[in-house]
Symmetry: C2
Subunit: 98 residues, 2 copies
Amino acid sequence: MMNTTKAAKIFKALSHPNRLELYLEIAGNQESNFEPGEECLITDIIGALNIGAPTISHHLKELSNADLITTERRGKFLVARANRSTLLEVIQLLGIDR
Amino acid sequence: MMNTTKAAKIFKALSHPNRLELYLEIAGNQESNFEPGEECLITDIIGALNIGAPTISHHLKELSNADLITTERRGKFLVARANRSTLLEVIQLLGIDR
DNA sequence: TATATATTTCGATAGTTATCAAATTATTTA
DNA sequence: TAAATAATTTGATAACTATCGAAATATATA
């Protein structure tokens, strides 16, 4: 269920430039490929963003805790996917459509 | 212009439960009254939320810095109004509509 | 099995911030 | 003008967090 506490947590997850960039990278890669098989590989993102792997790991956990993404290990790699529904719910709370 | 830095700042402004509550109070009061004269009086909010006036003042400044609200002094009182357009812009950045 | 690669955990640090009490400023009203 | 009300500023503190390097773990591959 969505409430202000949960919503604040979601916004917090998106409140840091690097972490927001990370989320957009994950959400963006997802939408640019229609194949379900072409998810976002974290190892590629680490190269693109200018922060170390430990920090990426930390950020991923926060995005995951906020239900903004899901992650899945595929062999040696980590695959991330964006949860559009979480974003939709929190936007509804803001009542932007009224 | 909207970019990730600006967007992160907006999300940060909404990332604290009390401040989000404050924003929703401002945005909510606004929509419940159609008269432009019936804005949201801060003095009423201070009674409703469980935090002191200095903290409210601090939060208002952050919401204002993020362009989420505008404030105006009316005599002894402060009046707040929500900026819907800022919210719309940041939602567009998230690409939820694609 | 030994090495290489990908990610996470740990420990530490520097910077940020939500909150309050006290004092101050702005405005109205008695 | 004096007192009351509304809001802000100041100064302090406790809690949080983004980041890193180093070490540990997981997995694949030579």
